[in-house]
Symmetry: C2
Subunit: 343 residues, 2 copies
Amino acid sequence: MATIRDVAARANVSVATVSHVMNGSRRVNDETRQRVLDAIHHLKYRRHGIARSLRRSKSGAIGVIISDITNPFFADLVRGIETAIQEIDPESHIILSNTDEDAAKELQVIDVLMEKRVDGLILAPAGGNEGFLSDLVSRAFPMVFVDRALPQVDADSVVVDNTVGARRIVEHLIALGHRRIAAMRATLHATSIDARISGYQTALREAGIKPDPRLVIESASEIGAAYAAGQRVLALDPIPEAVFCSNNFTTLGLIRAIHAAGLRCPDDIAVVGFDDFPWADSFHPQLTAVSQPAFAMGEDAIRLLFDRINERRTGKSVQLTLSTDLVVRESCGALIKRGAPTP
Amino acid sequence: MATIRDVAARANVSVATVSHVMNGSRRVNDETRQRVLDAIHHLKYRRHGIARSLRRSKSGAIGVIISDITNPFFADLVRGIETAIQEIDPESHIILSNTDEDAAKELQVIDVLMEKRVDGLILAPAGGNEGFLSDLVSRAFPMVFVDRALPQVDADSVVVDNTVGARRIVEHLIALGHRRIAAMRATLHATSIDARISGYQTALREAGIKPDPRLVIESASEIGAAYAAGQRVLALDPIPEAVFCSNNFTTLGLIRAIHAAGLRCPDDIAVVGFDDFPWADSFHPQLTAVSQPAFAMGEDAIRLLFDRINERRTGKSVQLTLSTDLVVRESCGALIKRGAPTP
DNA sequence: TTGTATGCGTTATCAC
DNA sequence: GTGATAACGCATACAA
């Protein structure tokens, strides 16, 4: 592989000149520049990104730590990050790591990324590493939380208004006449799930319905567990008229349980979910859901991050809260019972 | 940030010694080692991955180029790659790029990755860059194709037996009594789709059914287009008894079209798809599909790649063909018409 | 068992 | 408008 010296030699110039034509960092005589360009072309020269990183003390790598890329929400988020990087600084790239919500794994992954000298970190924190993370931000390391924030850690964050989103969709359920509304609570050490459940409870209370803790069923965030939890929901006596699922997994598990039990949705039981996904309208009935702007969250997160990296912004952290959309389809019963009203 | 010199100074040893204790690359007196370890600990020293890469001329980066991480197949594949990397060489990491099946984007992305000096490439080729890629492998650059191979490019590859997979599932349809079987052909410049359609035709022929080109409907690999294509399938006269969908998108589009038309599956029309996904059994009816070992493909691909990188294997390329699984659920009509026979 | 010194390929400072 | 050269932080060949 040709180096900058090879190019310099062939073009009869110094390495400095080659470097400057590559980077446009100072005026170069047109004829000289052309000689350099020719040499570059002939030698198929590509600059050595690693050497460059070392010299400029900027790796061009952004660490992105999520729980699972297999989750469509995170896949969209990552595409958003990638797209925005392309616009803002195409020389940068993502290093992606999955933690599966495991705090220990998260810690280890961050360690590796620090050794790789990532310029910054976008993190959907699993929770449990607050101390370490606080230390990081206090040393001014560029970091932004996404999807969930950690109250104890004062970093930038991009989240969604979980409370309002959950509240709206449960209000919708209530407007349709449902009263006995259960909830599936995904067990994650994340503030987001708590907020969703709390939005659910608020909606009930405002409608004069007393939240019944027995109607809140816990479920691990994994498809098998969610199926089992779904069966527990159906075993409630009497069976709920509607169910609010606090994330992807619980929705899928419940729907499967409903079909397995030979029940019909929304006739026998209505279902709504937090977090929409591309397949939602291939479902039968099509799923009514709270849709999160995952792609936009990724874009915003990376923008905040670059602002930190380039020190366009220092000091006080900023919290971005995007709003969700209520996507009314069929599983809530809306279309069937009375058309598609908006709450 | 502390450097190796800081550590050396604090421990009263040379940088060489520090380097050797970090890497375990030569014997060091126990007491000396302890001093070094203490210094490392006190200074919170982390070695500089970039400098290390430069010196060892090994970036520890693996380029992974796929069409879209949002596709569950690729998400699984990437998790497989990541998991195997963790085992084989935890110092390495993935740089992920999406091409959206765009050859120009693919070329550009590869260029960027080459500048970053990735140690190797795992690529689901979009097609169209055969010349460039051939050049790369001829210069012994480690590369392995995944999901699809390029006949003109002699690189290692990990694919699935598309023909057999498609054939089996269509045979299953035939065994259930379906005769008029349509197919949805995703338009991709990929050998995999061709192979699937050809498997479909073979199954028909072997059953004495003459493949009818009018029953093969084209669809772009995008959900909206697939929905429209699905409607075209339903508009065939007479309506097919069953449909074989050649990938994820076409399956989803068709199912949606069926529901929208008020038809019932499998009673009015049976559906099977190539490429299973985690949500398939939350569908109603649950989807019968050919399941690909995406995770394992990722593992195998990275293994092949590391063999190249470490020159454990040179020269002749190897082709790995994994087999698929037929997952019989409900959409084919099997359970409903006669229990769940295996073909 | 340990240390010295060179170079990996750049960028950037300083000099001309 | 151009060039010489000193870092960037590490691994390692060679010495001791």
